[in-house]
Symmetry: C4
Subunit: 240 residues, 4 copies
Amino acid sequence: MALSNKTDVPAFDAPELKELKQKVVTACHILDREGITDGYGHVSARVPGTTAFLTIANVSPGCATVERLILMDFNGTYLGGAETPPNEWPIHACVMRVRPDVMSVCHTHSLWSTLFSVLPIKLRPLHHYGKFLSADGPPVYEAAGLVRTVERGDALAAVLGDGPAVLMRAHGDTIVGASIEQAIQRTVRLAKLGEIAHLALLHGEPRYLSAEEIETFSADERFPARGWEYHVSRLGNRRG
Amino acid sequence: MALSNKTDVPAFDAPELKELKQKVVTACHILDREGITDGYGHVSARVPGTTAFLTIANVSPGCATVERLILMDFNGTYLGGAETPPNEWPIHACVMRVRPDVMSVCHTHSLWSTLFSVLPIKLRPLHHYGKFLSADGPPVYEAAGLVRTVERGDALAAVLGDGPAVLMRAHGDTIVGASIEQAIQRTVRLAKLGEIAHLALLHGEPRYLSAEEIETFSADERFPARGWEYHVSRLGNRRG
Amino acid sequence: MALSNKTDVPAFDAPELKELKQKVVTACHILDREGITDGYGHVSARVPGTTAFLTIANVSPGCATVERLILMDFNGTYLGGAETPPNEWPIHACVMRVRPDVMSVCHTHSLWSTLFSVLPIKLRPLHHYGKFLSADGPPVYEAAGLVRTVERGDALAAVLGDGPAVLMRAHGDTIVGASIEQAIQRTVRLAKLGEIAHLALLHGEPRYLSAEEIETFSADERFPARGWEYHVSRLGNRRG
Amino acid sequence: MALSNKTDVPAFDAPELKELKQKVVTACHILDREGITDGYGHVSARVPGTTAFLTIANVSPGCATVERLILMDFNGTYLGGAETPPNEWPIHACVMRVRPDVMSVCHTHSLWSTLFSVLPIKLRPLHHYGKFLSADGPPVYEAAGLVRTVERGDALAAVLGDGPAVLMRAHGDTIVGASIEQAIQRTVRLAKLGEIAHLALLHGEPRYLSAEEIETFSADERFPARGWEYHVSRLGNRRG
C-alpha cells in the first residue's frame, strides 16, 4: 500500500499544501459564521493521493488559522504543524481510511442534527437541499462518548457506511464530501433541512420528497462554487 | 407584437437602465440582509415597455453588483451584461410574459414559504401584512425539479395565475409586484406572515382575517416607499 | 381646560424640548435595535403639562432623527417639526387624552403581541418581566384596520382602559408608561413575556404567576434607569 | 474562622486582584454576547482563601467594566469598588458561604432556564453538554420575588444543595463552578441544553442520557480553556 508511505506526504510547510490549508481554515470559519457549529467541531481535508489529512488543532473552528492546523496520518501519527490534535481526530482518520472517495470530513455540534439524533423520528428530505441524502435520511450513531479512540472512529465509519452523513446521538454529526466545498455545502444544507423538518413535523406528517423526486432535483446538481463564494463573502474580516 | 422587438430594448450599458440596475442590486441585497433568502434566489425587473428583463447572473443575491447583472428577453435570449444567466431564469421570463402588470419578480428560498409548501395546512393571512393575499392564501406549485426550462416556467406561471405569490414545494416561493419596491415588500411580508402563521398554528386554530377584514386593511395601503427606505438603511456598506 | 391651550406648548425648536426629542429618537432606535418592531411603529412623549406630544414623522423607528420628529396636539393639529404625521397618530392622541398619567406611548408590530392577538389563548404573566400586568394579562383590540381615525383611536383607548398595554389583533400592540424609559422597558418585556409564554404553552399548561406572586415581585420594582442604559449601550452608531 | 477576617481580603485596588477583576468583566461580557442573559444577571468570583467576592455593581453584564465592580464579604459588607451592590448580591454570598468548592457563581435570566422553570416537565440531559448535571436535571427554586435578602439567598442555596445549577421560577437560573471558566461554560451549556430539550420535547419523549452514559461522556471532560478562548474571540471590541 504505497500510498500510505509517509514519505509520499508533503511536509506541513510545503508550498503545495498552501492552498489546501487556507481552504480548511476558510471552511472552519464558514461553519462558525453560519452558526452550524459552536466552539466545537472540525473540518479535515485529505492530502490528495496519500493517507494523511489536514485538520485544525484542538481549537474552535472560529479561531482556526493556518498556524493552528495539524497534519496527521490515518493512524494518528503526527506529521507536522500544531502539536495538539483535536480530541476526536479518529472521526476523520477512520472515515477516510475506508472511504477513498472522501476528500473532506466535517464534524459539527449542529443544533438540528443533535435534535434529530435524540428524537423518535427520523430526519428525512422535504427540501431539495436534502437531495444528497437518500429518501429515508441519515443513520444515527448511537453510542455515548466522544470519538477519541480508533475503536469508536471505526464504529462511526461503519454506521456512516457509503452514505454522505451520519448523526451522532447527543452530540452532533459527521458529513463527508468529494471536496471541501461539497462537504461544507452538505453540512450547511443538512442543518437547514433539519430546521425545516423540525418545523414541519409540528404540524402533522409533512410531504416528504420521494426517491424519484430527489432524483429529479439531483439532476440539476452542480459543483458548489456559488454557495462557497456566498459563504466566503459573509466571513468579513475573520480569516486566518 | 412590436414590443417584443429586440431593437426596442436599451443596451445593457445605456444610461436609462442605470437606476433600474442599481435598484435590482439593492433589492437583492435587501432579501439577503433581511434573511429572507440564503445564497440562492433572484430579483428581476422588466425593462419598461419591452419584453426584456434585468436580473442577477448566476450569483448569490448577497453578492450581486451592477456588473453581475444580465439583460435577457422573455425567450431567454442574451441581450447584455454578465454572461451566465441564473439557472432558473424561466421563472422571471414565463411569469412576465403572461402578466403584463408585473414589473418585478422575486424568487427566494424563504424558510417560511418552504415550510408551508410541504405542510398539510395552507398559509392564510392572520396579520395585515398578508393583506395583499386573498383570504385563502397563495397556491403551491407541486412539481419537483428546479425551474430551468420554459416548460416548468410556464407551469409555475399557470399556478400563480393572476395572483401575487406562489409557494414552490420543497423549494421556496415566487412573488410579483407592480414595482421592485412592491415585490420586495410583499416578499418580506410573506415571510413574516409565514412565521406568525407557523407559530399561531401550534396553539390551535388561529383567528384568520376574513375577506372583509382584509379589504378594510387594504384600504389603508400606500406605496411602499417607507418600507423601502427602512430596508435600505439596514444594508450598511454592502452595496453594489 | 387651560392645559389644552396651544399657547402653552413650547415651539418645536424650543430648547426645553431638546432633551425630550433626543429621548424619543433614542427610544425609537431601541425598539428597532432590540427587534421589537420592524419598519413600523412609533414612540411618543407628552410635552409635560400640555395637550401636545412629540412623535416620529411617517418614517421607520430605526430611521428616526431629531429632524424627523413632529409636534402635534391631541386633536391632530400640526404644531411643528416634520410635516408628515405618522398614519396612526390617533393611537397616541386618543390614549393620552384620557390617561393623564401617561407620559409616553409605544406602538409596535411585535411578533409576540401579534401572535397572541390571533390566538384562542391569552397572554398571561409567567416571568417577573410581566409584573406590570395583571394576572390575566392584556386585553385585545379586535377591530380590523389601521388606527388612522380618532374614532378608532378612541375605541383602542377604551379597550386599554386604565391598563398598561393592549394587544391589537392582526397588527401589534400599544403600551403606555409614566416615562419614556418605563414605556420602553414595558414594551421590551411584553415581547419577552410573549416569547416565553409561547414556548411554555407548547408543553401544556404552564405555571403562571398568581396575583399575589406578581405583587411580591412588584415590590422589588425600581425606576428603569438600568435597563435604559443597557439598551442605549447596544445602539452603536445608529443615533439621530 | 480566620478566613472570614476582613483583614485577609486584599484591597479592591490591590494588584493581586487585577487579573481576577478582568476575568469577571470578561465573563459578564461573554454571557451578554452569547445572548444567555439580557440586561440583568451577574457573575461573581470568590477572592481565593477569603470570605469575600467580586461582582458587578448594579449594572448590566454587557456594560460591566473593571471600574464598575464591587468587593463585598459574605455578609454583604462593602469592602471596595463601585458603591451600588447588585440587587441580588445574596445569591452569590449565600451560595459561596455554604459551598467552599465554589469559586464562581453566575446568575442569568436565560430564556431556556426560565422556560423550564415554569413547565410541568423537567429539564434533563440529552446532549453531552449536560454531562455536568445529574440524569434528572437541576432543581427549581419556586419562591416568588427577587433574591434581595439573605433569607431568600439561603433558601436558594438550600435548593441548589451540592449541585451545579438551580433554575429559578419565573426568573432565571444560578450556576456555580470551581473556576470562572467552568461556571461560564456550564452556564452557556445549560442554555444550549434547554434549547435542545425544548425542541425535542415537541416531538414526543426524547432519548435522554442515562446516568451511565453521562458518566461515559464525563470521562472525556477537560478544563474549559478552549471554550473560554472561543467565547473571548467573539467579544470584539466590547471589553472593559
